[in-house]
């Protein structure tokens, strides 16, 4: 269970800055999510990285919630 960042990522650092698990890091010219650390922000409706990402749909595979 983890989110993924697509290749359209243009490395603006926003997701890395707000991730409470420290799961996001810069790899080359884009960011990646460490699946071992990502919890998809169970405490809130929309994971923080998705809420702040300026590029729609780049962070994917969010668990569907009610």
């Amino acid at each position: 269970m983890a989110l993924q960042i697509g290749e359209e990522c243009f490395a603006c650092y926003a997701c890395e800055t707000v991730c409470p698990a420290g799961a996001i890091s810069c790899q080359g010219d884009r960011f990646v999510i460490n699946p071992a650390l990502c919890s998809e922000c169970q405490d809130i409706d929309t994971p923080r990285c998705i809420a702040i990402c300026p590029e729609p749909g780049v962070i994917r595979n969010a668990k569907k919630r009610d």
Partner: protein, 498 residues
Amino acid sequence: MDNNNNSGPQTHVDTRPSCKTKCASDTLTLDINLTRQADSAAEIGLAQLQKVSQHPCYSNNAHHKYARMHLAVAPACNIQCNYCNRKYDCANESRPGVVSELLTPEQALFKAQAVAKAIPQLSVIGIAGPGDPLANPVRTMSTLALLREAMPDIKLCISTNGLTLIDHIDDLVRLGVDHVTVTINALDEVIAAQIYKWIYLDGKRYTGVEAGRILIQRQMAGLQALSKAGILTKVNSVLIPGINDGHLPELSRELRRNNVFLHNIMPLISKPEHGTFFGLSGQREPSESELDAVREESGGNVSQMKHCQQCRADAVGMLGEDRSSEFNLQDINSQPVDYPQTMVDRSRFQSAIASRGASERQASLIVAIASGNNSQIDLHFGHTDCFKLYLLTENEHHYIGERRIKRYCSGSNDCPDTDPAPEQSSSLDNAIKALHGVDLLLCSRIGIDPKQALEEVGITLDVSYAYQAVNSVLPGLFSKYKDVAQLKWLQQIKKEVI
């Protein structure tokens, strides 16, 4: 990031492919109207005048003499503005993710010192993006802390969209940031909803009118807190025809109520190739006459800045020029800067600017004054966190800047002049280092240890003017220390000849 507007001293990260050349040609009118109808020198006050006298983005006079630089340490942004698209920044931009452009706090300090040495007119360092400085609090505050400690003669400023400003006021005060620019485009949540696609706050994205309401409320709370903290504030607004053009004069009235010093109304930059919402939706840019008209109408409320160059988040140099390409990290890395010596050279250069060259032609002195209220010599040496520097010549005195130090003593004002606690020793060392190049120091009182330490590095102390007015003391001071000035002058000439 706040593309048009999140401008520090003044930032605009242009997104056009040919932004380098276009930025340089984006020259707006170079005059500034700092004489709004209601203004008077008394209203602005000495403290504010001194604060802006060396800030190119706050003073029309200063922008001909002093330079600024922006450090691109803050990539993330917490607002999507409709005039901004982060994705299409050009290769020459300070685009986040382009490693050579985005700086770590340590790299930022390194670059800042190299620029301060190469461009002695540099008086201000700002963090303005390329995102929002306060959406990157760790990177921004770490950078400011490093700069503050290592570069006591530099003014620090930030430029923010204001969404989280209220949460960071204490840090900004602690780090001695005394200029903040806030980009505010609307006071009306319905208008704001047409300008911002979304905001991100405390883990959640807000859109529409709700986003506008939260943003405006937090921006205004931020302005009030800045005013209370004594931080000089400029507000940038992007003029968007048909959306906020009729609204900006009303905004400027509210800014006046919140003690905003300067209002910078900037034209929207909007082209389809920028890929911004406005660029793609066909939102037009304002004409020059529309811009003039809104500035004119708003000028009755708050002084208008008209010399803004809408520069980039990594700009270096005088307003209107960008020398950032001369200071790539790879080029400057091998040359560490001796900053205390650089500071001496910079003070000398800035003395020459302030005195129009007089300090290079005759004997002069640099005096540091410990003043809390800016008008009297009223501070104990150990309680001073910002010394005001003046240049004295036989007939003139000029304000030439400041040196900020970490307060050396936290005791009461009437403390005995005894030895300091051991932990104060390093603060004293830092204070002495920060005063490098000062000839004479006036304060209300000083302990034995700091007195000896200052005298050892050749700084003459005088506490006989305690609680007297700075303006009445300065005119007679040169003749009292003429011998010191002449000795220094001889040494200077000798050094240059040999």
